[in-house]
Symmetry: C2
Subunit: 354 residues, 2 copies
């Protein structure tokens, strides 16, 4: 594990200086836990909802007539905690924000549940919390409620973070994994495989001419721009299992076939090179700031153009289409012109990537 | 850790029989994870919301005019996973249900985030999931969204569970930690210290003439009965830090003093005996099915009577009152008639109790 104290410029407030590391008492519900909340979590995440400090937080009416609530949860166990382009704190915020955005929801509130390992340097925690707070600001969400537990050394890995999220789905929006229809086109919002390879390169101690950075980013703004541009049937962020897993899930849920052209999938040359070296297929590698969209052909060009104007969609591309044939099956036209079946990954390619 | 396979009669479905234990691939987003979801989580928790299988779950309009939403999160890291009277699965459901109920909310939906350690017996997971499903039924809530991660052996402790919860607070309800007023009375819903001592006794291999069982229980029904009976200012479930921590939090949030009579706090003789043996004060020991209520004196008798008629409030008692003097301070009249300050516990009494 790479500790990067002060990576993000966090300074330990005086009342916490007695604790260079997390100890069991920080999770015991007493004075020490109150210190952690009062001097670390509360000032970093400060907002009117968290300030209620109750067993649960009361949120004012957040839905209008006909709207629905989107609810999601994700635990983050990435190793190492800091990697090129990001850290576990940013992942925890953006990952859940993106899961809400994939239903067309406007993300509003997150919860944050921390499982800290005894011995975690306070500076590491401080920097992670600082990163989470900045990520919340960037994504336009608030952490409304939280929880802290501490486990003995050897029963964790520094820090695990769970975030659950709440967002509001506008009344006229119906985006879901079962909505793909034959004739629809398949788009990706940018290059595939950056996150997984960035994390892997740190773990394996690999260096490349160009540093490969994680693409971790909040996609709610991009989704909003896409929804304004045209109709969307399905959205999915291509995390664990990568593009291949997502396309298979969508083909399965919608009972349609999907065909795409490998050559049209944007992949950074350095990611391709790393994949060749490691014996990995970039189509199966996790992303943390990229989405797959399926939408009617008539909307494709205008949505693509809206994506390319957005900072997180500059390299968006149309990669394939939905067909009535071979429902549940995903096929790819290969670089040499053949057709191959792109199956679901069986088990593990890269463990603890998010 | 005590594994109790088949404690709850779970039978491993055929497609999972190839995996006697959890392996890294169960968290990798591929076929193996899909198997776990399809054959374990989905059938156990089955409901229309979970069936959506999207990145997030869409919930239909659940709030009426003037209502508020209660949102809470809690991670569960209890060790051992099974203990007299309960297990981590029940705790994870009831703990979050109770946090919602403490705002006067009707609990509706939970999320479930699992962090599984490689090597966890599939039977242990099956039994825990079975217990969670039964607990949801008992509490009247549904698991609407979930997530599974797997960490390498030696980086967890079998299983950690995060649950976040959503509930609706009726329009006319205002229960919160800052609402206590001088003149109010303080009630507890039953005996204190059962959960902490039950878990501790297994860990330490202690046996008593009468087995001490955890009190883990959903308190939303009890709270509903109390709210129907009379006005309530504050509610808090006395978990980590026990009664002492809760009274101090309420005194602090409401800027009032609290005085109570130690002799009026119901404590089982066997819990008292165990505490003496272990050198612990039962006022600081965690409960998982007991609450502290603060309410106007005029409502006290009728609410107490309603509590005593409920299965989880049979031993409810009035233990003290709120005073204008010494704001933030909690004092107890002792068995020998003196007065002592009941302070916040500093750090850790019993680690990993929930």
């Amino acid at each position: 594990m790479t500790d990067k104290p002060n990576l993000l410029g966090w300074t330990c407030p005086r009342p916490l200086q007695n604790y260079p590391t997390i100890v069991m008492g920080h999770g015991a519900g007493g004075r020490m836990m109150a210190d952690l909340i009062e001097h670390l979590f509360a000032p970093a995440f400060d907002n009117e909802w968290l300030r209620q400090m109750g067993d649960s937080t009361a949120l004012e009416q957040l839905m209008e007539m006909g709207q629905r609530l989107a609810f999601t949860t994700d635990s983050f166990v990435v190793s190492p905690l800091f990697f090129p382009g990001g850290n576990i704190g940013e992942l925890a915020v953006y990952g859940t924000v993106n899961d809400l955005a994939m239903r067309g929801a406007k993300p509003l509130y997150l919860s944050a549940g921390f499982i800290l390992e005894e011995g975690l340097p306070m500076e590491t925690l401080g920097n992670i919390v600082t990163a989470m707070a900045a990520a919340c600001k960037k994504a336009g969400v608030n952490i409304a409620t939280g929880d802290t537990k501490v486990v003995q050394k050897g029963h964790g890995d520094g820090i695990y973070i769970n975030t659950s999220g709440l967002g509001v789905i506008p009344a006229d929006v119906d985006i879901g994994p079962a909505n793909a229809q034959p004739g629809d086109v398949v788009l990706v919002s940018g290059t595939m495989g950056d996150h997984g390879i960035a994390v892997m390169s740190v773990r394996e101690g690999l260096t490349f001419e160009t540093e490969i950075k994680s693409d971790t980013a909040p996609l709610n703004g991009l989704v909003e721009a896409m929804m304004e541009a045209g109709q969307i049937h399905c959205l999915r962020d291509a995390t664990r299992g990568g593009l291949a897993a997502v396309l298979n899930e969508l083909a399965g849920s919608s009972r349609v076939g999907i065909e795409f052209d490998e050559r049209k999938v944007p992949i950074r040359p350095e990611v391709n090179a790393a994949c060749e070296m490691l014996g990995l297929d970039p189509l199966y590698i996790a992303n943390e700031g990229k989405l797959v969209a399926i939408l009617p052909e008539t909307a494709a060009e205008v949505v693509l153009s809206a994506m390319r104007q957005h900072e997180y969609g500059k390299e968006a591309a149309i990669i394939g289409r939905v067909v009535a044939e071979h429902p549940g099956l995903v096929t790819a036209k290969t670089a040499i012109g053949g057709i191959r079946v792109v199956d679901v990954p069986a088990g593990e390619l890269l463990p603890r990537i998010c």
